[in-house]
Every structure is written in structure tokens, then in C-alpha cells.
């Protein structure tokens, strides 16, 4: 089911009625962001957008919202576009267990068509534009960045492929935000402790499976390329960078090669973030670009980000939930049913579990706080029974409203870590966290009147089948 490259996926979207081409002239600002924001307001089955007539440009082509809905997410996995979300979650979890799938190496790639090493000007090469009104500049926010562990360069999984926001701050100069909980911060620290620049490569316009793997909170030594292969069910194709020992996604539209400048910090931001707030301005590391190559007439991919839900939330919903699910299952293999950590990148996580004895659900919640992703997110963990679907928010609200006793079931753990972008953290990066136990109390936790749960009339399953058939 692997897509050959970014264009192959766009063709699939078009064939499936999930790509909307805007041929009327649009202004780079505010039209591109406004159209995308408007689209995100129109529900969770929206198409991708393709702009081919942008004021001031001759031939710029921009794709947005490429994975910004559940149908597009299903198509990314090669599933029918109307696949229910819960089914996408369990299929993703099944493929996650196929990890690792070794990569397939290639000598050349389509992006070798055009190469630029002199007088690089990213503002000329890429159709850059502003997203939100308070943004400090034009950003690359759906590019993947590749870097290598300097202490252990031979361990393949420690090569990191991640999505980080990058502000274009000069003709060959980017700013990058390395959140301390993310792997790139480790590589930058290793390089700066040596006083060396860190070689990096950046890929724009990638087929969605590598973007998905790059935005999955894998363990530090797990390879995103080997996970992309597992998710697409066949080896992921890579080609070597020219200036560093780094693997690049074969199907990308544009590649930038460069280096993080050791010991350099420069003003960056603010940027409208997935939290629905601007990040503020801070002094961040700088990347110098030394080489660019791209396909002829490249398609520039970009992502609108802001108040949820936007493309980001579809892109990092299922693939954030699954690692938490797997890591909780490692601890409690017979109990954990499903995990929904789709809200604001897992700042809220809902866990469905069986319970073995009184107090068990609270222990499940505390384990979630200590998973690698939980260390930077999971500010509010809601634990529900096995018969509550964590993806069905009315059911979750029912559990909260009927099972939870605030005196017993609200647990606050003080002084834990959180990503500094959480606008409520104080100081940035520190927060209390809360577990809400909305499971039914069981012995020896005997309280409440739960001995008469409502059941369904006899024959509901047969009627469901019969009616759904009649409704087709």
C-alpha cells in the first residue's frame, strides 16, 4: 500500500474526492491561512487544499491540510476513507507491532533534479507565507528534520526524524525550536558540548507515512524510518544526504541540507501553536543551509496550525495514542483496552481499562504520567472502565458524571514536567497533573450504588444489523 511519493498521495486524495483545487487567484496572506482555518471549522471529513494561482507567483503550487481529516488519515494508512476512527486506532496499533521494518536504500531520488549550492535564497526557492497574525515570520511547519546521535552514530534507531517548527530568518538561515522533551534537543546538546555544528537535513513535501512516523512519540532509539515501513507494510525508501551521513525520504519534493550553529542563539517567534496560544519570543538555535535540491516545479506542503482542531490534531492523534497504549499494555497487558490521547497532543489522555481491585485505575493513571510521552504531556488523565469507548466523548462524560466522586477520585500530583509550550505551566515547563478516576469502584473500594447498571433490551445486536442493512 506504500505511496511512491508525495504526488502519488495527492493523486489518491484527488481520486477519492479528498483534494479540493483552488484555481482562483489567492493572496499569500491572509488567504492561504484563512481558507485553511475555515476548512478546519467545517468538520472532520474535510479534503486537502491545492492552490495553484497565488498572487505574485508564476508557478507556485501549495498543498495544505493534506492529512487534516479522518478520511485522509485512513487513506494515509491505505484503508477505505470512511473507516471509523476506533478501527484506524486498532489497525495502527497492529501495524505498530510490526516494527521494525528495515529500510530500502536507493542511490538517487527525484529531488536530485535541481541542485543549488551557491547564493541560496529560501525566500526565492519556496513560496513562504504567514499563518497567524502574531507570527514573527514565515515558517516551515510540516518539514521533517533528520539528525544523528553523535555519541552513538552507528545505532540506526538513534538517527532522529522529527517535526519541528522552523522560522525562515534569512536567505539561508532558519531558527528551530527544540523542545527539551524531544530528541533533537539531545543531539544539539551533544554537538554544543563538543563545540561542533550539528549536521541536519530537512525534507519538505513528504509522503504522509514518514510525516506520521516523525510525529509519533517513539522511544529514543526507535527509528522513524523503520516505523514508517511498519505502518505502510513494506520497507521505507531512503537515499543518503550529500553533506552528512543522514538518510533522506526518497519521495520528498524539496531537501535542505545544513547545520545547527554551535553556541548560537537568535530571537525566534512568536508562533501560533497547537495549544491555541502564541508561544512568545525566545532565543533559539539557528540552522545554516548549505545545499538545496528539489524536484522541478516542486509542490510546497504547509500546515495551518492554531486553535484545535487543525491538521496537526488529525496528524498526531492516533499516533500519539498508540505508543501510550503499547507502553501501558507493557505494564498491564491483561487490562488496558484503548487509549485516546488525541486532545492537544495528549495534554489530556483518556484510558479505558479493566480493573483488578480497588485503586487499580489510579495506578494506571500514574503509569501514564511516567511514560516518555507522559513526561511532556498528559496533564489530565481520565481513566474509564472497559465498557466505555474512550473515543466516544459522550460516553466519557457519562462516566465522569456518574462514576467519579471528587473526594476519592481526583488525584493531583504536584511539581511535574510538561512541555514549556503549555501556556498554563508555571514556570514554563512545570505543572501539577491530575488523574480523574471515572471507573466503577470495586472491592475493597466499596462505595456508591453501582450494583444495578443499566443493560440493553434483548435482541439489540440483531436489530443493529437489520437496521444498518436497511439504511444502506
Amino acid at each position: 500500500m506504500a505511496y511512491k511519493d508525495f504526488r502519488d498521495f495527492l493523486h489518491t486524495l484527488e481520486k477519492e474526492g479528498q483534494l479540493l483545487t483552488i484555481s482562483d487567484e489567492v493572496k499569500p496572506e491572509p488567504d492561504l491561512a484563512a481558507a485553511n482555518r475555515a476548512l478546519n471549522n467545517l468538520g472532520d471529513k474535510t479534503p486537502a487544499l491545492f492552490f495553484n494561482n497565488i498572487y505574485g507567483y508564476n508557478a507556485a503550487r501549495i498543498a495544505m491540510n493534506v492529512m487534516g481529516s479522518w478520511p485522509n488519515h485512513a487513506l494515509m494508512m491505505g484503508m477505505p476513507k470512511n473507516t471509523p476512527l476506533k478501527e484506524q486506532f486498532f489497525e495502527f496499533a497492529r501495524r505498530y507491532e510490526q516494527f521494525p521494518m528495515p529500510v530500502k536504500r536507493e542511490e538517487t531520488a527525484p529531488f536530485h533534479e535541481v541542485e543549488i549550492t551557491e547564493d541560496i535564497n529560501l525566500f526565492d526557492i519556496l513560496p513562504l507565507f504567514r499563518l497567524n497574525q502574531g507570527d514573527g515570520g514565515f515558517y516551515l511547519d510540516k518539514a521533517i528534520l533528520v539528525s544523528r546521535d553523535l555519541d552513538d552514530p552507528d545505532t540506526y534507531g538513534k538517527q532522529n526524524v522529527g517535526l519541528y517548527r522552523m522560522q525562515v530568518k534569512g536567505k539561508n538561515r532558519l531558527g528551530i525550536q527544540p523542545v527539551p522533551q524531544h530528541d533533537i534537543a539531545i543531539h544539539i546538546r551533544q554537538a554544543e558540548e563538543r563545540g561542533e555544528n550539528l549536521k541536519v537535513a530537512i525534507a519538505l513535501g513528504c509522503e504522509p507515512v514518514i510525516t506520521t512516523a516523525a510525529s509519533t512519540p517513539l522511544l529514543y532509539d526507535q527509528s522513524e524510518y523503520e516505523m514508517a515501513g511498519a505502518i505502510q507494510g513494506e520497507p521505507y525508501r531512503v537515499v543518503k544526504a550529500k553533506d552528512a551521513d543522514l538518510d533522506l525520504p526518497w519521495g520528498a519534493e524539496v531537501i535542505l541540507e545544513g547545520e545547527v550553529l554551535a553556541g548560537e542563539r537568535e530571537y525566534e517567534g512568536p508562533f501560533g501553536e497547537f495549544t491555541g496560544h502564541y508561544s512568545g519570543g525566545r532565543a533559539m538555535p539557528v540552522i545554516q543551509i548549505n545545499r538545496v535540491y528539489h524536484r522541478k516545479q516542486p509542490i510546497f506542503e504547509h500546515l495551518y496550525i492554531g486553535m484545535p482542531w487543525t491538521e496537526t490534531d488529525y496528524m498526531i492523534g492516533v499516533n500519539t495514542s498508540v505508543p501510550l497504549f503499547q507502553q501501558l499494555k507493557d505494564a498491564f497487558p491483561n487490562e488496558i483496552i484503548a487509549v485516546n490521547a488525541m486532545y492537544t497532543h495528549g495534554l489530556v489522555a483518556i484510558i479505558s481499562t479493566k480493573t483488578r481491585y480497588g485503586g487499580f485505575a489510579k495506578a494506571v493513571g500514574m503509569r501514564a504520567l511516567t511514560t516518555p510521552h507522559g513526561l511532556g504531556y498528559c496533564k489530565l488523565v481520565i481513566v474509564v472502565d472497559e465498557d466505555v469507548d474512550p473515543f466516544n466523548l459522550p460516553q466519557v462524560m457519562w462516566a465522569l458524571s456518574t462514576k467519579l466522586h471528587p473526594k476519592h477520585d481526583a488525584v493531583i500530583v504536584p511539581g511535574l514536567s510538561i512541555l514549556p509550550l503549555d501556556p498554563g505551566s508555571d514556570p514554563a515547563g512545570m505543572t501539577h497533573k491530575m488523574i480523574l478516576d471515572a471507573t466503577t469502584p470495586i472491592a475493597p473500594d466499596i462505595r456508591g450504588h453501582y450494583s444495578q447498571p443499566l443493560d440493553s433490551p434483548l435482541g439489540v445486536a440483531e436489530w443493529e444489523k437489520k437496521l444498518s442493512h436497511m439504511l444502506r
Binding site: K27, P28, E29, P30, Y55, G56, Y57, N58, A59, N121, F123, D124, L128, F129, R130, Q133, G134, G136, G137, F138, Q167, V168, K169, G170, K171, G175, Q177, P178, P180, A185, I188, R189, E192, E193, R194, G195, G263, R265, E266, Y267, E268, P270, Y278, G281, R282, A283, M284, P285, P420
Partner: protein, 78 residues
């Protein structure tokens, strides 16, 4: 030289011009690193109309928090 709408320094320079002649220019301020396109709404391009909450005082820039902090050099055994 142009006035930066955000920090009001007068050192901004053109970094690119529209491929279709005369449509717009993109300017970059080397002081606060703000970037804007001349065809953007005046709430972005006009220093007097730029939102006050997003203004930047050039004197504050050298004091901006380092994220992440620059680590000490470490001598490693060869």
C-alpha cells in the same frame, strides 16, 4: 532601508521580490528577525497599526531566554 513594523528599527532589508514583477516584496528585520510581505494587511505592515501586544523592544532582545541553554563545553577522552 525600511521601518520594521514590530520593533521599529530602520534596518530592514528586502530579501525577495515577487516573481510577477511589482506585486510585492518580502522584508526582513535583522534586529528582531520579523519578516513581512508588503502586500499584507496594514495591521501587519504599518508600525502604527501593528498590535501592541506583539511589539518587541529591541533592548529586550539580548535578554531573551535561551531555549535550550547553551551547555558548557565538555572535554572528551579520545
Amino acid at each position: 532601508m525600511h521601518i520594521c513594523p514590530r520593533c521599529e528599527s530602520n534596518r530592514s532589508e528586502v530579501v525577495t521580490r515577487s516573481p510577477v514583477k511589482g506585486a510585492w516584496e518580502v522584508l526582513l528585520c535583522p534586529v528582531c528577525m520579523f519578516t513581512w510581505r508588503t502586500s499584507e494587511p496594514d495591521s501587519i505592515t504599518d508600525p502604527a497599526k501593528y498590535k501592541s501586544a506583539f511589539k518587541v523592544n529591541p533592548q529586550d532582545i539580548p535578554n531573551a531566554t535561551h531555549v535550550p541553554p547553551i551547555p558548557e563545553r565538555v572535554q572528551r577522552r579520545s
